[in-house]
Symmetry: C2
Subunit: 168 residues, 2 copies
């Protein structure tokens, strides 16, 4: 189903709800694109621009893809896509072709070179304008124990939102 | 007017709209609290927690306050408060008592030691769980030229949202 461009923050509430359950699909990589499930993310205005910030651990296959091409899409699934979201959150793109396995359809980006997922009713197209890191010494202890028992502290990618699209 | 606790993301749209125009008021400091106008910020879910991320330049009076006590409130003004927001964005708490000058009323936090502004219809109470920095070498050039001609790169404070309150 073709999508239509909407206002940047129009589906913010739905976006955060789906991020929380079942998760969103972060697609990175220009030549060979791969979806990774994310349950975290942040949306706002920074440097006078709408920004979608996503976090990726250095060990992840997606980290290499984000480093290889500075664009990504965040795809917001429907609740019915929970099995796909779960699959994409437990398998690595190093081992399986998640697009093929999940029978997902890549659609060319409108404003960027990274594709989106046709099956997701909403998607964001972003270009990376900044990245920094989660700094171990600046985290409260309970977060460090809960999420970083073996290090692998996230890189934070700040993506300028160039377009948001929703199913017609 | 007394406020009532609401769901964390209930006023997200209004929050980003006001952040964009006329701006929001970041209150920091436990003993002597000071409001600073912010036009940037980001709201989302990170480390399984609702997070309000705010950016403060090291040169700002508020930076010292954020370092002195790890909590803050983000106060969402009405459009009619634009003169106050403008005043708090052009004066420094080093030189003037903005609370007194603007006849603002500090209200004790419900869950934190930093107060909120009674005149703002919505406010967020946050505790800082992480901070990192905008890294010069990782910014695209157009942002560096536009916002950092003389350095003073922002610190990014990640505040866990402990409560959101709205006028009854």
């Amino acid at each position: 189903m073709a999508k239509k461009e909407i206002a940047t923050f129009e589906e913010l509430q739905e976006t955060l709800n789906r991020l929380n359950n079942p998760g969103a699909l972060l697609v990175a990589g220009k030549e060979k694109s791969n979806p990774m499930t994310i349950g975290w993310g942040s949306v706002g205005i920074i440097w006078g621009r709408p920004i979608f910030a996503v976090l990726v651990r250095p060990s992840r296959f997606t980290h290499g893809l984000m480093e290889s091409w500075p664009e990504f899409t965040v795809n917001i699934p429907s609740l019915e896509m929970d099995k796909i979201v779960n699959f994409c959150g437990t398998k690595s793109g190093r081992d399986v072709d998640k697009i093929a396995e999940c029978k997902l359809t890549l659609e060319p980006g409108h404003k960027i070179e990274v594709p989106s997922l046709a099956e997701c009713p909403i998607h964001y197209e972003c270009r990376i304008v900044h990245k920094n890191n989660v700094i171990p010494s600046e985290l409260i202890n309970e977060i460090t124990s809960e999420f970083y028992p073996s290090g692998d502290f996230h890189t934070v990618y700040f993506g300028e939102i160039l377009g948001v699209y929703r199913n017609k």
